[in-house]
């Protein structure tokens, strides 16, 4: 934990400025193409959009200059690039639905969500001036996280949409509190693991060459983890359960540096996955749709129809895609949300999809680099956890629609239509940038190194005891 790696840092935020110009150009071009192909191109409207996007980018840029001047410069342009492409594609789907007589304004709503997300992003940067204050709320975050996951079970508040009980109705909108619960639980894990990492890593009986943690160290973690997992499984939110499990294993591994945790986790996962397939029929049918997707019987039963339609879309896109506005992504159900990746794959081709995935790779790798660069263990765990959460979320959705793994419902960060996901992921980005600001700030005074939050604050007689044995 004491390892500190100095980052080579490009100071100032000029690079970010230029990259933001690129993502702005991408946004205007993409929307222009969509409007053009829909014969809906009005220069006035496009100008307003261009101006609005420019203002938003400028405000975000200035906010970072003020509140996190040393933070990573490529993260914000990457996020805006993803949003730019997604807004164009969602608008394109609006046109497609309109042509079939279904009046939707997903794009307009999504612009609203993106703006709200950006506002929340700036708010987080203003309110949380140092990420280490979050550590004080370790248990609060844990309890709040669980409460968030439980909210949909509250009668009158919870709503079931498409078979998953993960929604609550509020102010005429549907909200997925789990998206925020995910962040809170990552905060809890980071705080708890940071405090107890040595105990988890070193103390405890040895079984089969692996040191198992003691119950008193493991207890709160196990309870929190088990509770969240049970709630998600009960809500039939398999994607979130898988995501949560993966984040947990990843963070515990980072904290304890013990591969045994990963092994135990993977074994449990395989057992759990097989068990769930046997116990829950809806899980078994997911496996069936995955393994035998192209089977005419499975297809016509509807189990794999959506998945296969998505595959057809991607295949018809080929290497270069049909072009924005020229494909038929609307032939796939939920083309604007769960299946936005096949929509983009169809119209932008493999080339476009690779570019999008590369933007995610950049985001994740910046989060990981931040984790390596930041000096405090809590920051390391939080940043790595958030980065890994982003990775798994993309992997589970894209892997699902490309038939790499069974399809589960999850949103693609910044791409899929939906407010909770958009706002929650903006919060994730705000936290990563907040930590990176710390990581890249030049270490001028010794005070910054001996922050009270990271300095040894209490003795651990139990640990000394364990080490003596």
């Amino acid at each position: 934990m004491a390892t500190i790696s100095e980052l080579r840092v490009h100071r100032g935020r000029r690079a970010e400025g230029w990259l933001l110009v690129l993502s702005w150009a991408l946004a205007v071009l993409a929307r222009g193409l969509v409007d053009y192909h829909a014969d809906y191109l009005e220069l006035g409207a496009l100008t307003w959009y261009a101006a609005g996007f420019a203002v938003a980018a400028a405000v975000l840029h200035i906010a970072l200059r003020i509140f996190a001047p040393d933070s990573d410069q490529v993260v914000l342009p990457s996020v805006l690039g993803l949003i730019a492409v997604a807004l164009a594609e969602i608008r394109r789907l609006d046109f497609a639905y309109a042509a079939r007589g279904r009046d939707t304004d997903f794009a307009g709503t999504q612009i609203g969500w993106a703006i709200l997300g950006a506002v929340v992003f700036i708010a987080v940067l203003i309110v949380i001036r140092d990420h280490r204050v979050l550590r004080r709320f370790t248990y609060t975050a844990g309890v709040l996280g669980i409460v968030m996951y439980l909210l949909p079970a509250v009668p009158g508040l919870g709503k079931e949409i498409n078979g998953a009980k993960i929604w609550i109705g509020a102010f005429g909108h549907s909200l997925q509190p789990g998206e925020f619960g995910k962040i809170l639980l990552v905060v809890f894990f980071a705080g708890y693991l940071q405090t107890n990492r040595d105990a988890l890593a070193l103390a405890g009986p040895k079984v089969l060459g692996m040191r198992l943690p003691r119950m008193r160290d493991m207890g709160p973690l196990a309870i929190m983890f088990g509770a969240a997992l049970l709630i998600m499984i009960n809500q039939k939110d398999l994607g979130a359960a898988l995501l949560f499990f993966g984040i947990f294993i990843g963070m515990v591994y980072v904290a304890t540096e013990r591969i045994s945790w990963v092994v135990i986790g993977l074994v449990l996962f395989v057992v759990g996955a097989i068990g769930a397939g046997i116990v829950f029929p809806h899980v078994a049918s997911r496996y069936d749709a995955w393994l035998h997707a192209m089977d005419p019987q499975v297809y016509s039963s509807g189990k794999s129809e959506q998945l296969v339609r998505g595959l057809f879309g991607m295949a018809s896109g080929g290497l270069f895609g049909t072009g924005l506005g020229n494909g038929r992504p609307d032939l796939v159900p939920y083309a604007e949300s769960d299946f936005i990746i096949p929509s983009l794959g169809e119209e932008l081709g493999l080339t476009g999809l690779m570019a999008i995935l590369t933007l995610y790779v950049i985001l994740v790798q910046r989060a990981m680099r931040t984790a390596i660069g930041v000096r405090d263990g809590f920051g390391k765990l939080l940043s790595a956890g958030l980065g890994f959460a982003l990775t798994l979320q993309v992997f589970i959705v894209v892997g699902g629609v490309t038939r790499l793994i069974p399809l589960t419902g999850l949103t693609t960060p910044f791409l899929a239509y939906g407010g909770s996901s958009m706002v929650a992921n903006w919060v994730v980005i705000a936290l990563i940038l907040r930590i990176s600001d710390q990581a890249r700030r030049p270490a001028q005074s010794p005070e910054t190194r001996t922050d009270p939050a990271t300095a040894p604050s209490r003795r651990r007689p139990d640990l000394e005891e364990a080490a003596a044995q």
């Binding site: 934990m1 390892t3 790696s5 042509a99 990843g250 591994y253 980072v254 904290a255 540096e257 192209m294 297809y299 296969v308 595959l311 057809f312 879309g313 991607m314 295949a315 018809s316 896109g317 080929g318 290497l319 270069f320 049909t322 020229n326 494909g327 038929r328 032939l331 794959g345 081709g349 493999l350 999809l353 690779m354 995935l357 995610y360 790779v361 994740v364 790798q365 990981m368 680099r369 984790a371 390596i372 263990g377 390391k380 765990l381 790595a384 980065g387 890994f388 990775t391 798994l392 993309v394 992997f395 894209v398 892997g399 490309t402 038939r403 790499l404």
Partner: protein, 483 residues
């Protein structure tokens, strides 16, 4: 904690790489089979949404796509539809495709691999994908003349360039208008289709290549070729009894209307005279003495029992299997199990015109992409050498005799020597016979070879009366056009 974070970021990278790999698999490696999946309606939608190349006759479109303001984007239009329908076929959003529309579909819609570079060019030029244009070998004027000459008859005309095998005319009557089926109004398409399918005259049947008929006396050309190859000459005397009793039975073969065709006192005639007057008894006897194997070999080298792609698939003309003597006698006059398409009989005429060399028939001369680059040209190719040039010369002289003062006098053209052969084949009990005429002209320097078939020429119809005048008109038009 940095080492596990590094490893974790490697794991993250690996996860993204596996996603990229899977996307590559779907969008590139597996894309072909996904696109071909019949459940993938995209392929269909896209096809109707892109500009489909035209089918050209003499450089003018007989089938073309015009941009229209409806969900399909383009409307297929046919010029002079019924005349060219056997060539173009139809292109329907409900009933699929036939004819060249089907056989050249991937070129017309632009998905063919041959158009890869063209597509790449469109991509970078920002143009939408465009199909290739297909130029046919059809001579538009000849096609029209043949269609008019058939008039109200049910039948077919095929005209070939004997030296190349290029199909200059291919007509089938009664015909239909492909425009009725290409409409985007599904209800009216359904109505038209039902009417066409319900019509007992089968207007959508391409009689030139898709229907088999007994070739009747026109098959005597094949038998004659076999005899000449076996050492006969036009002057060889062959028996020509008034009535031929078939061996091992009481069945008999007689000549048309019971006439006698012996030219000497001993009941014999020459091979040339037998062909000139189309003597059934002489040919039945000749066939039996030649034995079936000899005839079979010549027939096969002329294309019988083989399937041609012109590029539409041509029905396989059939020969009897192991016929006994009476069956050989029947087959030698083009009855029993001998079945032929009009195209096949045109090929027989063309082979005689071309010194015994059979050229592969073809309908498409050139395919060009949308920038008019030639991406495919059909080079004439030899199918086989069916018989010697000497045999071809003998046959030509004998066929000139048929038109000069034999059964085919109504095919005469003033100033031009026409070589021809009539055919009248039983179509079944009591039904009027199928009448045939195959010919080429000029006899000394053949420019055109044709086969005419009329299914129902009325009572007392013969090839000479019904089919020969039609052939005469087409030959005349072909020779006028060539000057």
């Amino acid at each position: 904690m940095n080492d596990p974070i590094r490893r974790l970021s490697v794991v993250a990278l690996f996860l993204f790489l596996s996603l990229m790999g899977m996307a590559t698999y779907i969008q590139v490696l597996h894309a072909g089979s996904l696109n071909d999946d019949p459940r993938n309606v995209r392929t269909l939608y896209r096809e109707y949404g892109t500009y489909r190349g035209p089918i050209l006759v003499d450089g003018a479109a007989v089938a073309e796509s015009v941009a229209v303001d409806d969900p399909y984007g383009y409307q297929r239009q046919y010029t002079n539809g019924p005349v060219f329908a056997p060539v173009t076929g139809f292109y329907s959003i409900v009933y699929g495709r036939t004819g060249l529309e089907q056989a050249q579909n991937s070129l017309l819609n632009g998905t063919s691999d041959a158009l890869f570079w063209s597509r790449l060019g469109d991509l970078f030029a920002g143009q939408e994908q465009q199909g290739a244009s297909v130029e046919t070998t059809i001579d538009g004027n000849l096609q029209q003349v043949a269609y008019d000459a058939l008039g109200s008859y049910t039948g077919a005309v095929v005209a070939l360039d004997p030296s190349t095998g290029a199909i200059k005319a291919m007509v089938s009557t009664p015909s239909f208008d492909p425009n009725d089926l290409a409409s985007h109004d599904t209800a009216s398409v359904n109505q038209s289709y039902a009417a066409l399918i319900g019509d007992e005259n089968q207007p959508m049947l391409n009689r030139a290549i898709a229907q088999l008929y007994p070739p009747g006396s026109t098959f005597k050309l094949v038998v004659t070729a076999a005899a000449l190859e076996a050492g006969y000459t036009p002057d060889t005397k062959i028996p020509a009894p008034d009535v031929l009793t078939l061996p091992g039975s009481t069945a008999t073969i007689q000549n048309y209307e019971g006439e006698s065709c012996a030219t000497d006192g001993q009941g014999s005639t020459t091979l040339a005279d037998a062909l000139r007057v189309s003597c059934n008894t002489a040919y039945a006897a000749l066939g039996m003495s030649l034995q079936w194997e000899g005839i079979d070999r010549v027939a096969r080298s002329l294309g019988f029992e083989d399937s041609f792609q012109i590029p539409m698939t041509v029905a396989t003309s059939q020969l009897p299997v192991d016929p006994d003597a009476p069956q050989t006698a029947q087959s030698s006059i083009g009855q029993f199990d001998v079945r032929s398409t009009p195209l096949q009989m045109a090929m027989v005429a063309a082979a005689i015109a071309n010194d015994g060399v059979v050229m592969k028939p073809y309908l498409v001369s050139t395919v060009r992409d949308n920038s008019l680059q030639v991406i495919d040209t059909t080079e004439p190719s030899v199918y086989s050498t069916a018989f010697s040039a000497q045999t071809a010369q003998y046959l030509t002289d004998m066929m000139v005799g048929v038109v000069d003062d034999g059964t085919g006098t109504r095919a005469q053209i003033s100033g031009v020597q026409v070589a021809g052969k009539t055919g009248t084949a039983e179509s079944g009990t009591d039904a009027p016979p199928y009448t045939w005429f195959v010919a080429f002209a000029p006899a000394d320097d053949p420019k055109i070879a044709i086969a005419v078939l009329v299914e129902d020429g009325g009572t007392g119809a013969t090839g000479g009366k019904v089919a020969a005048p039609i052939a005469q008109k087409v030959l005349q038009a072909a020779l006028d056009g060539g000057q």
